[in-house]
Symmetry: C2
Subunit: 225 residues, 2 copies
Amino acid sequence: MATERLDRQRVINAAVALLDAEGLDALSTRRLGTVLEASANAMYWHVGNKENLVGLATNAGFAELELRTDGESWRDRLAATARELRGLFTRHSWLTAAFSAHPRIHGPEIVRFQNHLLQVCQQAGFEGFDLDWAGATVFSFVIGDAWGQAQSPTPDDSSAMTTELLERVKTELTDYPLLLERYTALANADPATVDVASFEFGLCSMLDGLQAHLDHQNGTTSPNT
Amino acid sequence: MATERLDRQRVINAAVALLDAEGLDALSTRRLGTVLEASANAMYWHVGNKENLVGLATNAGFAELELRTDGESWRDRLAATARELRGLFTRHSWLTAAFSAHPRIHGPEIVRFQNHLLQVCQQAGFEGFDLDWAGATVFSFVIGDAWGQAQSPTPDDSSAMTTELLERVKTELTDYPLLLERYTALANADPATVDVASFEFGLCSMLDGLQAHLDHQNGTTSPNT
DNA sequence: ACCTGAACACCGTTCAAGT
DNA sequence: ACCTGAACACCGTTCAAGT
């Protein structure tokens, strides 16, 4: 009733809250209007249109990133950056869908992160296009990993439903015994620890791969430094 | 006028054609209806609903993958698999958005690919959960890379517009000289070759990283085999 | 079995009109 | 300057009714 005046930040905050709670599909101008106790089109004055609002929400997400530069080695710094980014995408699981739906999303906080990532790669010893490729490799892996986590988001049903589902899958995967074996092994493991372990394995592999590139670039003579 | 009877495959084919041509947002039940010279809701009998249709279209995409097992080494086979998957995602750029919007997508052709990926990783020497992590690492990287390519899809405007846009960006990136430098360097390069080079760099890094894991796992005594 | 027409509840966006 | 109400052109989906 005695609702405060709207402003851009309040609209963005409400959008982020709605996105976190119910996902990208739940964000509509009318739902946002009711949340803000305003008409459905009140937001247009503040954020232009919906696509722009999603962009602003995404940018607000990236503002959460703590970009530290005090790691002991480039490897530590790059790992910390990757983990920060991954944390962002798990806290706001709508981010991958938002980027996919609106590829033009950009903003100062996103730019800030990109610059940080490039800086860390530069300190590691990458130059020229290799700098871009190294940054893109890290970014791609983290995005792809977050994208994979979003694929299995529904432990709504407890173990009872799971075993029934497992039976159904068992008949579907009859031609692929290896896949069935891995599927059951993963189904019996704790999802949270599985996700972390999967990410850390990939991250470690990526860092080893980048390390190999740097070693080769600086001459393979002293690989033990 | 003398339109053939509808069937599930024709609906899927029309959906894929529409998706390829105009993207995920363009796929609506009514547009599909006009393409098929049928009513907007004719598809419901054949494919259930829209989400299911997108799943079927995705599955149809994965059917295109040629999964070869005749590589000389596990590294060749895994690289070939990754490149096949990347090709699929570049030919059908709506795939990342489709997966993001409907995380529950699955199907026999997708399962077939997953099994192939696991097989290749198994032949490489991975076992147990490492098998899953290795596969997930490759998959995540390829998805993330495809996702990145989709971010810069609009060379609609030729070089004239690009230079004007470059000026605008130059003021935005004034706080980030490193990012500005890399941005201009990339803007002056051929986008297609850039995309390929970026992917190949990341792929090579990933394979080196997996290689390092296998070496360590089998004992670091014989790294030259 | 397969398809249509009409209907329902929703959407993003615009724009005159209000304060 | 900021916001509302009504309107427009779209959605996905359902369902009785047709053949």
